[in-house]
Subunit: 708 residues, 2 copies
Amino acid sequence: MDLSWLVWTAGLIAVLFALYLIRDVMRRDSGTPAMQDIAGRILEGAVAFLRRQYRTIAILAVVAAVAVGAVVGLLGGERGLEAYGITGIGIAWRTALAFLAGALCSGISGVIGMYISVKSNLRCAAAAAKGGLSEAVTVAIRGGAVSGFLIVALSLLGVAGIYYMYGGNPEVTPHLIIGFGFGASFVALFAQLGGGIYTKAADMGADLVGKVEAGIPEDDPRNAAVIADLVGDNVGDCAGRGADLFESTAAENIGAMILGITLYLATGNAAWVLFPLVVRAFGILASIVGIMFVRGKDNESPMNALNRGYFTAVGLSIIGIFIANQTIGGDLWLFGAGVIGILTSVAMVFITQYYTEFRYKPVQEIANASRTGAATNIVSGTAVGLETAMPTAITIGAALLLSYWMGGQTGIAGGAVFGTAAATMGMLMTCPFILAMDTFGPITDNANGVIEMAGVGGKVRKITDRLDAVGNTTKALTKGYALASAGLAAFLLFEAYLERVAFLRGETEMMAVDLSRIEVFVGGLLAVALVYFFSAVAIKAVGRTASKIIEEVRRQFKADPGILAGTSRPDYARAVDITAAAGLREMIFPGLLPVLSPIVLGVFLKLTGYDSAMAIAGFLMVGTIGGIMMAAYLNNSGGAWDNAKKYIETGEMLEKDGSPVLKHTVTHAATVVGDTVGDPFKDTAGPSIHVLIKLLSTITLVLAPLFI
Amino acid sequence: MDLSWLVWTAGLIAVLFALYLIRDVMRRDSGTPAMQDIAGRILEGAVAFLRRQYRTIAILAVVAAVAVGAVVGLLGGERGLEAYGITGIGIAWRTALAFLAGALCSGISGVIGMYISVKSNLRCAAAAAKGGLSEAVTVAIRGGAVSGFLIVALSLLGVAGIYYMYGGNPEVTPHLIIGFGFGASFVALFAQLGGGIYTKAADMGADLVGKVEAGIPEDDPRNAAVIADLVGDNVGDCAGRGADLFESTAAENIGAMILGITLYLATGNAAWVLFPLVVRAFGILASIVGIMFVRGKDNESPMNALNRGYFTAVGLSIIGIFIANQTIGGDLWLFGAGVIGILTSVAMVFITQYYTEFRYKPVQEIANASRTGAATNIVSGTAVGLETAMPTAITIGAALLLSYWMGGQTGIAGGAVFGTAAATMGMLMTCPFILAMDTFGPITDNANGVIEMAGVGGKVRKITDRLDAVGNTTKALTKGYALASAGLAAFLLFEAYLERVAFLRGETEMMAVDLSRIEVFVGGLLAVALVYFFSAVAIKAVGRTASKIIEEVRRQFKADPGILAGTSRPDYARAVDITAAAGLREMIFPGLLPVLSPIVLGVFLKLTGYDSAMAIAGFLMVGTIGGIMMAAYLNNSGGAWDNAKKYIETGEMLEKDGSPVLKHTVTHAATVVGDTVGDPFKDTAGPSIHVLIKLLSTITLVLAPLFI
């Protein structure tokens, strides 16, 4: 049975649901004028930043679209595709247009995520101010869900739309729409980098100059960088992650569709090409029910409410993929592979919780090591971060081996690889819910900031502090999820690349990627070096941008002593502006690095007579492995350091005599150092590597003609 | 012309030269009784540690030898080797015996390195006390050279001896002696781990409880951990690195010999199998001349004297490899490949200098970042360390591609791969000199400690401080060298593995290692995870051991207030003992990890029907890439942090007003944090990864029958 109508329906339902949520959030109380004033400044700063950022990105994207179109048009036309009557020019404009469409959708996703989250944080703060923890939770998750559903709908409708626009021929069309994925990754990389650099530079700058130098508390209105810090949460966490997950779902979808071609050719059932879209349509429906299940209770941890909703979505997803598989006439083994993917996401959530929450041993060890100072805190946190690479690898490795084996049991040609695609699609089913949880983080973080800046203290602050701690956890969890999805998807994207190379060469057999060939080995080595170098550049960019902010805040303190006295207001807008300008400058180099590296290496190897297509495959695969491990290290050490500090600040960590460890002790100061170090790890470099991994996949997929 | 006599002659000359150096060092002034007393305690502690350590390692090695013999005997006998009339039992005892011989030689290398270095540091201190910088330099480099030459001689004579003992048949014998390399790596891993954990735990413990808690200077005799700290330099840096470089030269030699078989079969010239040994014989002669050229001058940086000697050795090595190549009748292209290897070592020395010396920008950036505290120091140092991955990868990658290409120009079958072997051998030629420079570090470090503890201050301390700073640099350089040699050798060791698999299977074609197969990809993923996890375990072990020492020093301070007052002596021996016991306990788990991981994974994949031999090849290759990059990060960030601190302590870093940055400022405190964090990075985890990489090569090479 053809279920493609479901794709459109689910996409539409997701949009309608998001509109319902927007109405629901917007009609709620928006707090006191003081709070509205602050939220207004945040919105203003965020819009100003995004406007500048997307102007830069738009220029880059148009240049890239033309270049990509030219390359595939000139090089890709004569081979595989001309059998279907598609000329070089035809490929060129279609790929360039798809690239621009992907780039545009990715950009829209970022803007939506940011805009709704700024609107929601004010309402979340207002709800908390009225004393309602449960309502604050509802506002935060619903505000987060708006961007979650819109982004997923956009990716689903975008891929399906361009597929049908380009003819909907299951044999060729997937090759023509890959530009969509590349465009999405391209924008996502810059969005994540620019936002990530901005947010952590503002955070570090505000902390170093405020908490450390001037001795004023976090989010204190006397600190000129404080609005920039709050803006940062929105442009980094919301806009950046929005663009990131948009491109994940888009790229993985297209990769899965390319693998579906093999199944279609083997079985004659064209539904396989659309199977990935149908699975995700069911995922949207499951996530909607899950979101409606999240209702905070005043006497319960908000995390429990989120977990209930999440497991509802997981359970319904399993049912959904069963139905999708049965209607299409799939083997039960493929359903099994899909379930593996869903369970992988659950496993990653648990692993991330274990390593980054202070209820468990790893974070407690870091906190204990902090008793002997900052050095032991850093050493201990580094060790915890490095350790997480192993459970991450085992989870992803086991999921791949299992889903591959299950896919192989179907006996269909290409079934084994399609098993890993089914697992990836299964994992992505709960993506809207995960995105909602992710955006929950910056919304509650900002609500906390609004409350602090508006001078509403006491009990209210307790509520938003509690929400903020939950937000930290959900942010860490979603990074674990994003990472596992990148790992799981990696394999299917490799296979898509190899299929495409074979298709372009007019061969029926996929080539082997022989690591024992020198160019493949060197390609792999350079790819891992790229991951390290990219991380270094991203981290350095944060430091350099932060120093610009520190200078500005110092200058303001010096120019007007009334600021520190609390009698005059600092110039927030100028601090926002300086951060934005510096952050955007710093985004260009690390952004171009992963785009240009494979091109330069591939062309060099081709010109020197090596097997460039194979070397680039090695570059892609080994680089992905290196990237997953590095991101696990950066994300988890950062999350663990953050919560080691929270362990003290919530009063749960005890001295030997049973009294709580106080703030401003040596131990607490050590955890503050760890938290500051972790900031660029977990919010700039780590998430940017997720995008880097997927960008490598999409760029090699699109530019395959260049390496042949 | 057969040059195998040169191998024996050069080995013998190296031994005689080492004996000459020993006599030269020992007949020098051994200082005041107070100094002798301290050196005596260091020797006692070091001997006690090594005795316990090697007892544990011996038990493990015997068990491993039996297991390895059994595995290859039972599984390897029927295939490739039986054509040569060698039965399963014959393979079993030969491999087990070779393993034990390698293990024994590796152990002896460690002991020699440690023993001579303790003897030399006293003489170096005495020379400095008499005001002679130049003589102190001569003593330190000659003391270091003793172990350098003995270790290289042992590896050369060991490999050659066992080769002839097992029949000297160029076609089969290399397969029988691979156990020698595995035995050497096995012991080296435990020696490096045990020593590395000991040395940094003692260092961190002594600093944290002394400098930070009690406020007494470094190497102050009131600190009970101070002798343990000095012992640590000897057992970690000398014994550990000695075992490490012994196994490098042995393993890479054997790998190169296996590749030589192909050339022998193609050309009928059996000299190719011995070519690697002959090249190294020339390297010994070149290094002897280089060492004799090192003469310190009182009015010149000791680094210049070392550099003169090094470049002399480099120049003579180029001539040596030319002669070796011409006499054997090799193509000039192979000489070119050898020169590439020699130049690679020079390039790595420059790269390491650039990133870890405070004359250059990276370390200065870290120092500047320290002005805003420990957090920015750590972030900046992390970025520098991560960045070094790129130049390292480019250097190794370029050397591999070039030497491979040059080898290919010879037109001989297997010539291309043999080109990388020639490069590796070229690089290893200066190994004795590099080892001497490496041991120079702990000798001067200890001389400094002896001077401080014996209460000889003032001008003398200035001399030893200067020597110590040079020692830090030489230690960093040798790590860069060791890493590049591991990287360069990696490729030849892979090929040796693939050749051996083909040989055992009775096939003439080597298999492809196809990364697009799921088991190969998952194998690679798990291998990189192993590198991360191993680093985490090693770093954690340092922290745990350090906390034991801190407790003990605190206990002693508390039990006898006379210690801090300076009226009674602390119980040094007890602190040494506790560190030793804790360090050795912590060495077992990380040591067994890389030994058991490939076995478990390989057997699991074999039992589940995957191509285990290919997956293990992926494990080996991707793991090597991941290891090289991780080690570059850990070594160089550690070295850079160390010298950012030295930048302040030498008075060369300036405040904005032009005055030097003082000790005990915020900036200096931040660099102390960075230095402490870097300690386990650069002296425990980093160097242990070098050994891990090579252990993975030797274990897979030996146990290949298990995966087929």
